[in-house]
């Protein structure tokens, strides 16, 4: 399926999904996106800061979308810079200092895909330079930096969108709407995990580049699994709970990859929301059997968002049973209809889970997110809801690491509550 086809389906489906009260009011940006803008779009000019693997991945998606041109690429590692410029067909101007890129007056916004410790610095500089910003997740490396970014957005009025592509994924949007409509009942527990079985390393051409290339493994630049993986899933949990966790406790360690890295290779946390419900989160990189999933549980059922399946706690009532109950209540003496053949679940669909979204789109939300960013720029319309989601997701992830490091239960600091 091409992006164009995928997008058309997205528009059709999302128009229906975001027509629902919940998403319609909480994610108006998607509703606008869903109202097809047609093929003629005002050109949006972007600069890409950080053209490593993630930046190149984003470029691949940007190239699918009409009306977006990447005119400048910045990276301080030459092989990445070369690749980034190549992906623009050689048209983009190359920079090694992002501040020089920010001086270009013809750019509408920037995409920041650099190591975590640079997110806040670069985003704040870009916003203050009058540019709209898309910054990869997690939002920043410390709660203070997250708050700085949030406040800078408020001061400048420019768009700040953090890369949580699940908020642009139709399967997730459908799930959010279903969950909010009460199909699972009150959400009492969310279990989320992300398991991989690899060393999380990238090849290093010379030892001196170890920390630069494998920045994810060192505390100076990274917060490890919690920000690289966990922040996505915590943000999803927060959106479902319409809240953020107030306490977190857990453990983590390096229990397998004893290769000089500093960040944990496994994290295991329990987050508590104000209503007493919990998010149980873990991530590891020494076993991939269970992969990744967000399991959302309530008294009426379970939803698995990555696989897009819903499991009812109970089957649908037999035909006539509800009528019988109603009749009893109203003192009506009518018969219960009885079928001929035994009822069986539709090819066991109910018993084995039901797909919540019938179209399997190739895009995980990234291209739609890029398109959404461009559309927000055209309309000069920031989404405070999406930014708050990223903000609380990032801080919760960071507090998870703090809880592990201190070996204590950590309470969400008042100073960071917006």
């Amino acid at each position: 399926m091409t992006y164009k086809q995928s997008r058309r389906i997205f528009l059709q489906k999302t128009a229906l999904i975001t027509g629902g009260l919940f998403l319609g009011s909480h994610l108006p940006d998607l509703r606008t996106l869903a109202a097809d803008q047609g093929e003629t779009t005002e050109e949006v000019k972007l600069g890409l800061i950080g053209s490593g693997s993630r930046g190149q991945y984003l470029m691949d998606h940007l190239n699918l979308i009409p009306g977006i041109e990447v005119v400048a690429v910045c990276d301080n590692y030459q092989p990445n810079l070369t690749m980034g410029v190549q992906k623009t067909g050689g048209k983009a101007e190359a920079f090694t200092d992002y501040r020089k890129l920010l001086e270009r007056r013809d750019i509408d916004g920037v995409i920041i895909a650099t190591p975590l410790h640079l997110h806040s610095l670069m985003s704040v500089d870009a916003l203050q330079a009058g540019l709209h910003v898309f910054c990869e997740k997690a939002m920043a490396k410390t709660p203070r930096e997250c708050l700085d970014m949030y406040k800078t957005q408020l001061q400048t009025g420019k768009i700040l969108l953090i890369g949580h592509q699940r908020m642009f994924n139709p399967r997730y949007l459908k799930a959010f709407e279903m969950i909010n409509s009460g199909q699972l009942g009150d959400i009492t527990q969310i279990r989320a995990y992300w398991h991989r079985n690899n060393d999380w390393r990238r090849a290093v051409p010379e030892p001196g580049l170890e920390r630069k290339i494998n920045w994810r493994l060192y505390w100076e630049y990274s917060e490890g699994l919690m920000t690289e993986l966990g922040s996505h899933q915590i943000q999803v949990a927060n959106f479902i709970k319409k809240d953020f966790p107030r306490r977190v406790a857990g453990t983590g360690s390096i229990n397998y990859w004893h290769d000089g890295r500093e960040v944990f290779d496994n994290v295991n946390l329990v987050y508590e929301y104000p209503d007493g419900s919990t998010l149980i989160y873990d991530s590891m990189i020494s076993n991939a059997h269970y992969g990744l999933e967000e399991q959302v549980m309530g008294p009426k059922g379970t939803m698995e968002l990555e696989t897009g399946k819903m499991y009812s706690e109970n089957p649908p009532p037999a035909p006539g049973i509800l009528q019988l109950l109603n009749n009893i209540e109203h003192k009506i003496f009518d018969p219960l209809p009885l079928g001929g053949k035994s009822w069986v679940p539709e090819t066991a669909r109910e018993a084995k889970g039901e797909y919540i979204y019938e179209v399997d789109l190739e895009d995980d939300g990234t291209a739609l997110e890029m398109e959404g960013f461009a559309q927000m720029i055209r309309e000069n319309r920031h989404s405070d809801i999406l930014l708050r989601e990223a903000y609380y997701g990032a801080i919760a992830a960071l507090l998870g690491n703090e809880a592990i490091k201190k070996g204590e239960m950590i309470t969400f600091p008042e100073e960071y509550i917006l």
Binding site: P315, I321, I328, P335, L336, A351
Partner: protein
């Protein structure tokens, strides 16, 4: 008056339970207990679980004495008894011919003949003292499809009675219903066997008090109103399929008997041995013609 409703997945279908005047806590406890008990039964009798006791028996008992649980031993004993009472029409030992294996398979006559000769509950030997089972036919396969739900709902009845529940309605897959006591606003539980083509129309009414009704059919009507045979109802004596649209319902104190008889009478209305005790029981068929009209035939 208080009504409690619970339902859950079980044995490949759903169980719906309506309890009168027992309170929500008791209803929860009962529903959990029933679900657990039926899970145990499924682990013994399922043909769909490779590791069920019956599946293992089917794979290993040809030419071998196999130890089985008292539950499975008693069940097979009952099957042999009903095999005799129905003159061989109820034959769960011909599962390769009549059970889930047969679905949508078109077999040659010679193959059918071979299966008839080399399978059947008549080729099952029970050793009552050692509680072992041995198959004497290489194609013996006991299929629980014709009695499993009946056994389940019989177990449900035992549990409810032991718990002092005297007013409840249990529907198991809508083809088997157990009615204890009576509808709160009547002197029995009214059950309607519906027209398979017009699902809101009643073909035959039945009033139940402390009885079960089981209905078996030869197929189902799809969304376009077309009857589709199941292709798994066969006369185990001849291998002939029974594909014309009809249902047979049996009312009995014993849910297992109701299930077994509805399965058997669906194939042959006259299959019951002369000495079979029909007192307190009812059996009727709803038979449809090509114009989708039906007649109700009272079998006894």
């Amino acid at each position: 008056m208080n009504t409690e409703y619970r339902n859950f997945f079980s044995m490949g279908t759903r169980l719906d339970a309506v309890f009168i005047n027992i309170g929500d806590e008791k209803a929860d406890i009962l529903a959990t207990r029933l679900s657990n008990e039926l899970d145990k039964l499924e682990n013994i009798l399922s043909n769909y679980k490779a590791d069920s006791e019956l599946s293992i028996l089917n794979r290993t008992a040809y030419g071998n004495d196999i130890d089985v649980s008292p539950c499975l031993f008693d069940t097979i004993t009952l099957c042999i008894d009903y095999y005799g009472m129905t003159n061989g029409v109820f034959d769960p030992g011909k599962g390769k011919l009549t059970g889930s294996d047969s679905r949508k398979k078109r077999r040659k006559e010679s193959e059918i003949y071979f299966l008839i000769e080399s399978s059947g509950i008549g080729l099952v030997e029970l050793n009552k003292s050692r509680k072992t089972v041995r198959y004497h036919g290489e194609n013996v396969k006991i299929d629980s499809g014709g009695f499993g739900k009946g056994l389940a709902i019989k177990r449900v009845k035992e549990i409810l009675v032991s718990e002092g529940i005297n007013n409840a309605l249990i529907s198991f897959g809508e083809s088997s219903v157990l009615a204890l006591g009576a509808h709160p606003h009547g002197n029995h539980w009214p059950i309607a066997v519906t027209d398979i083509y017009k699902k809101q129309s009643v073909a035959r009414l039945a009033g139940l008090t402390n009885k079960s009704i089981s209905t078996s059919g030869t197929g189902f009507v799809n969304d376009k109103g077309i009857f589709t045979p199941s292709y798994n109802v066969f006369d185990p004596r001849t291998g002939e399929s029974v594909d014309e649209p009809r249902t047979v319902s049996v009312i009995s104190d014993d849910p297992l008997e109701a299930e077994i008889l509805s399965t058997s009478l669906l194939i042959d209305f006259d299959c019951l041995a002369g000495g079979f005790d029909r007192s307190g029981k009812e059996a009727f068929a709803v038979i449809y013609d090509l114009r989708k009209n039906f007649v109700v035939t009272e079998i006894f």
